[in-house]
């Protein structure tokens, strides 16, 4: 495994300066992500307009929406916020606590709302 503290990518530390060459690489990446975000958003809107809720296809589309959202979020965080270019330790410091909290929150809200829904539709 690569030792992160040995193979440092410090391209975004305060002391870092980018030359024209590096700028070109970064801009190329930015253009790629821009195109990707636009296309994914367009697909989302078209699916939202043409697939009605409650149809047989809808559950698939719903999960597809969530997957596409996570793809978009991943690219925004990794490239636009360049967390992907930060040190691995910082990356995990940001992402792991957040992911743990959210997974717990989702677990609680989904089970509890399922239960409430069942309760209300049974007794009221």
């Amino acid at each position: 495994m690569l030792r992160d503290d040995l193979f440092v990518n410090d391209s975004y530390s305060v002391e870092a300066r980018h030359d024209e060459e590096h700028g070109k690489v970064v801009r190329k990446k930015i253009v790629f992500v821009t195109v990707l975000l636009t296309i994914v958003t367009l697909v989302e809107v078209l699916l939202g307009v043409f697939v009605k809720q409650g149809t047989e296809l809808w559950p698939v589309i719903k999960w597809l929406f969530i997957a596409m959202t996570l793809v978009k979020a991943g690219y925004i965080v990794a490239v636009f916020m360049h967390l992907g270019d930060e040190r691995k330790s910082l990356r995990y410091l940001i992402l792991i606590p957040y992911a743990l909290f959210i997974l717990l929150l989702l677990y609680i809200t989904i089970t509890e709302s399922n239960y409430l829904n069942m309760l209300w539709s049974t007794y009221f």
């Binding site: 958003t41 939202g48 809720q53 979020a73 916020m81 930060e86 957040y98 929150l105 809200t109 989904i110």
Partner: protein
């Protein structure tokens, strides 16, 4: 036992203090920590929305049926198009922001001014678009009346500012969207309207024409909280923009402030990506 202690370790490998172990500045790390806490807040809001929606046993409004208006297009049915446009504006302003950050790393002051200026412009356009959307959501369409018997009857035409007897073809639709849908018009409809308990049009905090009151409450809170973030982001961007023009960061030797405000701006875009999916699409 003394194996570890006697082994010589290259001092360059060890972190010996004096610089951040994460190789980021104090300010940038604190910005990240703030963003994590803010992300938890927004996740909490969206999770609460999902919780209420999922536990609700009646029909929940569908995004494309609520948001189908576009400025200057009257009543033309254009589902989600306006929100899609807002999303695109925010993505574009995020792109101009990341280009400003990129220019900052090359110490290209003119590039930073150009891209940051465009970012601020995009932010204003987004906030303005949201204001229009709120106006339209609150104003609503023709709406429905709650009859004296407690039934729901939908108006066929918007009568705002007029009295019912002035409106030609005034009619009410009962059981809209079901098999028993029936339309009442003429004097009978006017009579029902005059004896109504309530005319619900648009949305406020207690009642709205789209669905349960929580729907409008969550709309106001989530998009409002996000809009407030965009507004704050624009203000911070303007302050940084003025500093860039004054040459503060040239003399400081780096443009990291642009990068930090950029992190915040991208975060605002990130939140919108989720709001767009969970509030408008699903």
């Amino acid at each position: 036992m003394s194996g570890e202690a006697t082994k010589t370790i290259d001092p360059k490998v060890l972190w010996g203090g004096g610089r951040s172990p994460f190789s980021v500045s104090y300010g940038k790390m604190m910005m990240w920590f703030f963003l994590v806490s803010d992300a938890l807040t927004f996740s909490g809001l969206l999770a609460a929305y999902g919780y209420v929606r999922h536990s609700y046993t009646g029909a929940w409004p569908i995004g494309e049926e609520v948001f189908h208006a576009f400025p200057f297009m009257g009543t033309t049915h254009l589902p989600l198009l306006y929100v899609a446009m807002m999303t695109f504006i925010l993505i574009v302003s995020s792109v101009t922001m990341v280009l400003a950050v990129e220019a900052g790393h090359r110490m290209d002051k003119r590039g930073v001014i150009k891209w940051l200026g465009l970012t601020i412009l995009g932010g204003f356009v987004f906030v303005g678009s949201q204001a229009w959307e709120w106006y339209h959501f609150i104003h609503g369409s023709a709406g429905y009346v709650v009859t004296a018997e407690g039934d729901k009857a939908w108006l066929t035409t918007d009568i705002s500012g007029k009295s019912v007897s002035e409106v030609a073809d005034f009619a009410l639709i009962f059981n809209r969207g079901t098999e028993n849908e029936r339309q009442v018009s003429g004097a009978e409809a006017i009579n029902i309207y005059n004896n109504k308990l309530q005319h619900v049009q648009g949305a406020n905090m207690t009642v709205n024409e789209y669905g349960p009151p929580q729907y409008a409450n969550f709309f106001f809170f989530i998009t409002g909280f996000h809009g407030f973030h965009v507004f704050t982001g624009v203000i911070i961007n303007i302050l940084i923009f003025l500093n860039v023009i004054r040459g503060t960061y040239d003399s400081r030797g780096h443009f990291e402030m642009v990068e930090k405000t950029g992190l915040y701006w991208h975060f605002v875009d990130l939140v919108w990506v989720f709001v767009f999916t969970f509030f408008y699409l699903i």
